[in-house]
Symmetry: C2
Subunit: 102 residues, 2 copies
DNA sequence: TATATTTGTAAGCAATTACTTACGCAATTA
DNA sequence: TAATTGCGTAAGTAATTGCTTACAAATATA
């Protein structure tokens, strides 16, 4: 089974989970409250996120707090940023083009 | 059917296609040559990429040249970069911590 | 100790994905 | 005009995904 960051962030629910716990670690129930979907469904999404290293779980009594591992998000950043030169170059060219017109 | 950039880049073959045509527009067969997979399979991947706006096709005789639409990649960049402050803050904290140790 | 709370996991299911082969069509070349 | 080239698409298939309900286990509370 392929389990990488790109596949993990492909699902909109999982991106929302990431957004929720980016600011504050939450336990599973607290996360699930935000969705119109069963708790096991959220549990399975969390599993995908932990398996690819995007989320880490800290057990505290019966609660399991989920927090983001930002280094993993940096992997995505690194991939997309390698193309930044391409699109900024094009934008620069467009700006030059526009400035010549005025 | 959901068809967004995140879902499109989830597949490793599609990410490789993006990489191939980032530097130079290529027609479908030229792209397919790089993969150990049938031409229709590549055609279907290209379809996903065009449907979400990541790739644009320019017909030229019987060739169809594929080129990246970098603005779409910028969407991914924008999403991931919103979390940059979080991970850089953490790294800064780590650096401060390390510098105090020495 | 009995009960409530937080959670993981199994089984089942419909939809989607990532391929394949087979075909047809349009543009080029011989 | 006939053959070749570049391509899209349909149909079929096995695997995966994203859910559900049902259940069990462990911790906390009454």
């Amino acid at each position: 089974m392929r389990r990488d960051v790109f596949q993990a962030i492909a699902d909109p629910t999982r991106r929302e989970i990431i957004n929720l716990i980016a600011h504050k670690s939450l336990n599973l129930n607290a996360i699930a409250e935000n969705f119109d979907m069963s708790r096991p469904a959220i549990s399975q999404h969390i599993k995908v996120l932990t398996e690819c290293g995007l989320v880490e779980i800290t057990q505290q009594g019966r609660d399991r707090y989920c927090s983001i591992q930002f280094q993993k998000l940096a992997e995505v950043s690194k991939w997309v940023e390698q193309y930044r030169t391409f699109w900024t170059t094009k934008l620069d060219a467009l700006e030059i083009h526009l400035s010549k017109e005025t």
